[in-house]
């Protein structure tokens, strides 16, 4: 008689998950699944031939490609209205998500070891959240006092570093790179994603030993140090959104954007692969609500200013707002 491991239940990106034989330490066991998150999305490992068999009848269109600076293909997503979304990376393998987002079939390469679970939490689960009716922003987010602060920025502009510093000062992490948002009545809620912070080399060097220890388990992946940190235990109302940018000034400048450029908000959304009418409408609705209901601020930072100063600016703004 063979022993079969029981599925592990987790919640992330506002979706209830059932993981079969897959260990993902960055999915925090303490996160509560919202009632609307049912039914559970089943995540399981399969042989590549199972995905190939399902995909055999697909008439796919290339929905997304990500290439390196040298032109090498790093990630592709093909979409088929019936079979769903096939994500492939030369490093990790192939993965299939049906259009309803109720399943994730994973056929990782043997050599992918741990890296493919980074793809799972960084790309596949945000895709699932989008298919399950949430909207996902390309942002980091922390829960501070009574609200979620979101940070959007181009790659490398400091959104992870801002979140990292605020977490070290006591904020709870909501997500590093992809934040799932949905509307509950008159509130917009940000859901905890994966409890992982992917820290760049420069920021890693600035971390003191005690800070590294406080963050928890770490490993190297794709040129970054990934810390597995605990996340907020459930969704948090969105309190503000900061759009990070650069300035030639000597000090960081925070100013409220009024009016908000809707196209900047739209550009900050995630999962460009999903272009169904339902999703496009929801995406526009969410951006309209963000512009209407949430303070949207630009936070322009000089290149010489570190993430600690940036986090202090955010704290100062949050304190002023409360008082």
């Amino acid at each position: 008689m063979s022993a079969t491991a029981l599925p592990v239940r987790r919640a992330a990106f506002g979706v209830a998950l059932e993981l079969e034989g897959i260990d993902v330490p960055s999915l925090d066991a303490g996160v509560r699944a919202p009632a609307a998150a049912e039914p559970r999305t089943r995540v399981r490992r399969v042989a590549a031939r199972e995905i190939a068999a399902r995909w055999a009848d697909a008439r796919p269109e290339r929905a997304r490609e990500l290439r390196g600076r040298d032109g090498r293909l790093l990630l592709s997503v093909d979409a088929d209205p019936v079979q769903g979304y096939l994500m492939r990376t030369p490093r990790d393998g192939r993965f299939l998500v049906p259009p309803d987002g109720l399943e994730v079939l994973c056929a990782p390469l043997a050599r992918a070891a741990r890296s493919w679970t980074d793809l799972l939490v960084g790309q596949l689960l945000p895709l699932v959240a989008t298919l399950r009716g949430l909207e996902v922003l390309h942002a980091s987010a922390v829960a501070l006092d009574r609200g979620a602060l979101l940070f959007t920025a181009p790659a490398g502009a400091g959104k992870t570093s801002a979140a990292l510093r605020l977490v070290l000062e006591g904020a709870r992490l909501l997500a590093d790179d992809a934040v799932a948002i949905d509307a509950h009545g008159d509130r917009l809620l940000a859901h905890p994603g994966a409890g992982a912070l992917a820290v760049r080399r420069e920021e890693q060097r600035r971390l003191r030993r005690g800070e590294r220890a406080r963050l928890g388990g770490a490993r190297r992946s794709a040129g970054k140090t990934r810390y597995d940190v605990s996340t907020a235990g459930g969704p948090v109302p969105v309190a503000a959104m900061f759009m990070l940018g650069r300035t030639d000034s000597t000090r960081p400048i925070v100013r409220r954007l009024d009016p908000v450029d809707p196209f900047r908000l739209l550009a900050g959304t995630f999962n460009l692969s999903v272009r169904t009418p339902e999703r496009l409408r929801r995406q526009l609705d969410l951006c309209a609500r963000l512009a209407d209901e949430v303070p949207v601020l630009s936070l322009d930072v000089p290149p010489t200013v570190d993430a600690g100063t940036l986090a202090a600016c955010v704290r100062e703004w949050a304190t002023e707002r409360r008082s």
């Binding site: 009016p259 450029d261 009418p277 496009l280 526009l284 951006c287 309209a288």
Partner: protein, 103 residues
């Protein structure tokens, strides 16, 4: 075809926003989304208001009356601007004639 119609002929027609088009008003801009193409279009506040009035009134000339009154502007000026906007929206398939394309 709209480009074969004079402004006067165009103003007598009725338009609607098709089901595959949604629009949301932001403070300084209205975003119009064509769900079939996934393409977004931006309209300034005046054009956004014109679209909203066109959607509720249907007949272009009636919409012009409403907007001229609302903005306290000469009717001829509004009719000219509205006809121009309608041509642009028709070209992008963001509005359509009710009962099909004339001519």
């Amino acid at each position: 075809m709209p480009d074969q119609l004079t402004d006067a002929e165009l103003l007598d027609l009725t338009v609607r926003v098709p089901e595959h088009v949604v629009h949301r008003a932001f403070v300084a801009e209205t975003v119009v989304l064509n769900l079939q193409t996934g393409r977004y279009h931006g309209l300034n506040p005046s054009a956004g208001r014109m679209l909203a009035v066109l959607e509720s009134e249907g007949r272009i000339r009636t919409a012009a009356d409403t907007i001229a009154e609302e903005y306290e502007q000469p009717l001829e000026l509004i009719e000219r601007d509205l006809a121009k906007l309608c041509r642009q929206l028709l070209e992008r398939r963001l509005i359509e004639f009710t009962g099909g394309t004339p001519g």
